[in-house]
Symmetry: C2
Subunit: 415 residues, 2 copies
């Protein structure tokens, strides 16, 4: 990406927990940043996560004093991990002869709402960043943390540091946001499951968002969504390889590129799936609506819903939905609030996984569903539930057969 | 102290690194604070240090990335230790059913100058503390850290957390400042050296300041100085014993109490002493003055100075001074700037220690010096240097004989 933009363009570089996991790695990252700065990239901003393992250590500490900590205290403890990384990275850059400014969320002004531990960014004040650049200084900003208007520390929850980086890139009008991590980018499938997996060099926001939502761990859906909303290109690359050409670029691809796009970009796997089936429900659309309202009010995310009509002449039906394994009980409690027929009127299957094929090319290729079902059935893999959209097909399958489902689908569509 | 004041009086309680060294200890401290709150002490404020070992861990991390870290980054890394303690203590109080507000220096407004790593407190905004008390909430404040007017994090250096606590006590007009630590209080000598050492129950600020400056490790001179300046009583007690009566109280003692005061309150030992003697210096007061100006400009603290007049008829003299072992080289470099006669014109003795007897009662007892010298000479301990003030006598002795010097002086004056 650097070869395509002017050296005066702002660029935000984010380094994740493994990239700053040891003091040696922090020094290595500082060397790369300092070298780019020396080459004339005068508007670099660095965003860092906590050192890998540090957030878990802090969570264990606070849980040991109080398993139900007040959110303000919890976020204050956890946010200290990024504070240390910011300080160490600024010090490491100084050791490379580059002046760097360590900046915490309250110092910059990364304002969030006050939903502690899952706060959402409202605005970012870029004044301090611009001032750094004018003085030839590299700003080093804490990821994952924010501050409320009353100066309380908040944290952003899962995918937080990536979201901080993309939000900062948008705020400073960066050319792109670089996410430095411990893999080369987003692959067509997890290479540990499908050895033939290939790096996806260019992805549309749409595909990236589906893949992230459907189980690809590299990018969190939240930061992709933010990037898509503000058209901020995201580049995923490996901190530990010097190769800048091997990477995944997520951006709005122009039509010409889309024409060349593969039908299926990738195969994803999500193992954290449970299937709940409510049995013998009266056929009543109002009841179904109130069931899912109640589940939503409980803050439980439901993914696939299968709503069968009753058999001809019948008056009851089965209603199935999937959620994460950890949210099954909360979802059932929510169901109970609006439908309390009995206690044995449901089944829960936790031996499930969801495999999905994703690609913008699917829009114009109606045969994808047929190929998917054929590939799975040839391998004797039963499909328990199906969900489709314009650019993806998801199938819930037996957890024990999840890996081979990925393999046969990858072979059928990609390689 | 609690029995002597109204329950409406503000009290600041500070807990040091060992007092919050594990999550179990944090829970124990929270139990004590919660119990006092339940008894009607509605204006408690808690100040905490970093968990013991944490500051060293952070210093090691930042030194590993850059042994000469920029002070801003250094302070940001180190201050995270107190941030974690504050959050854990607030969470532990919540577990005891007491609402607590975790407060960092920038949130409260503990404003300091911008001398990073050794900042001095300029002012404390108490608004947030008062608001907590009005809502029945216990404020938990980070010790050791401050913030500049431009929102940079600073740290206060040695004795920092105690200083934070005393400064906060002064700001909120507390009845007293309680320093909770891992010993019962200040003793007449270090009990590991002199088993007969007794706890000093009441001390004048003056004596406490001398003892702290002369090697007693329990209280740092800086917080005693602040307490003395604003007449804020300081109570030192042991976190790990429930006994509130066994403690050292440092305050302005009234005359009547002073009349009963022992001649000598305590014996202190400072092992970090080096003696430098500049040889064959011309007898020139201007030169002597410029030597010590130069040393002061280099930021080196000189303690005892011995300035002999030349022998009758002679024109040169020897000039001796003591400093810490680590500052010998810096002091000699400073001397070189104004007197560069040769390179072998000095001696350095690092096998030294300083024993001192301290007490306000000494003012009216001219025999103390004689007793001191007699006690030391009876034990065949040579005195290399002597320094006296109205309330103390310090002797530099052979390091190997330091412990026995303490023992004979304690026996001669105390027990």
């Amino acid at each position: 990406m650097y070869s395509q933009i002017s050296k005066n363009s702002p660029v935000v570089q984010k380094y994740g927990g493994t990239s700053v996991g040891t003091t040696e790695r922090i020094r290595d990252v500082a060397k790369r940043v300092a070298a780019q700065h020396a080459q004339g990239w005068t508007k670099l901003a660095v965003v860092v996560s906590a050192m890998s393992g540090e957030t878990n250590r802090l969570v264990a500490l606070i849980n040991a004093v109080n398993p139900k900590s007040p959110p303000k205290a919890y976020d204050m403890a956890v946010a200290s991990g990024e504070q240390v990384s910011v300080a160490l990275m600024a010090a490491a850059l100084a050791a490379e002869g580059v002046e760097a400014e360590p900046i915490l969320s309250h110092q910059l002004g990364i304002f969030t709402d006050d939903f502690h531990s899952k706060a959402r960014i409202k605005s970012i004040d870029t004044q301090k960043i611009e001032a750094c650049w004018q003085r030839g200084v590299i700003p080093v900003v804490a990821g994952f943390q924010g501050v409320t208007e009353s100066l309380e520390i908040t944290t952003l929850g899962r995918g937080g540091s990536d979201t901080s980086a993309v939000a900062l890139a948008i705020a400073v009008d960066a050319a792109f946001c670089e996410i430095n991590t411990d893999v080369d980018g987003v692959f067509t499938c997890d290479p540990r499951i499908v050895p033939a997996s290939r790096l996806i060099e260019d992805m549309d926001f749409e595909v990236a968002l589906e893949m992230a939502s459907l189980g690809s761990k590299v990018l969190h859906p939240r930061c992709v969504e933010l990037g898509a909303k503000f058209q901020m290109p995201i580049v995923v690359r490996n901190t530990f390889t010097p190769n800048d050409h091997r990477r995944t670029r997520v951006m709005n691809l122009n039509d010409k590129t889309n024409l060349e796009a593969a039908v299926v970009s990738g195969v994803t796997l999500d193992r954290d799936v449970a299937k709940v089936t409510l049995l013998g429900l009266p056929f009543d659309t109002k009841l179904v609506s109130s069931i899912f309202s109640s589940i939503a009010e409980a803050g439980v995310n439901v993914d696939i819903i299968v709503h069968n009509l009753p058999e001809p002449g019948g008056k009851t039906m089965h209603l199935g939905y999937t959620t994460t394994k950890g949210e099954v009980d909360a979802s059932l409690a929510a169901v109970r609030k609006v439908w309390s027929k009995g206690s044995s009127d449901y089944t829960v299957e936790t031996d499930c996984a969801k495999v999905s094929v994703v690609g913008v090319g699917m829009r114009s290729h109606p045969g994808v569903a047929a190929t998917t079902f054929h590939a799975l059935s040839s391998a004797a893999i039963d499909i328990r539930m199906i969900s489709t959209s314009e650019i993806k097909i998801s199938c819930v399958v037996d957890a024990a057969k999840a890996d081979s489902a990925c393999q046969v689908l990858h072979r059928a569509f990609i390689a």
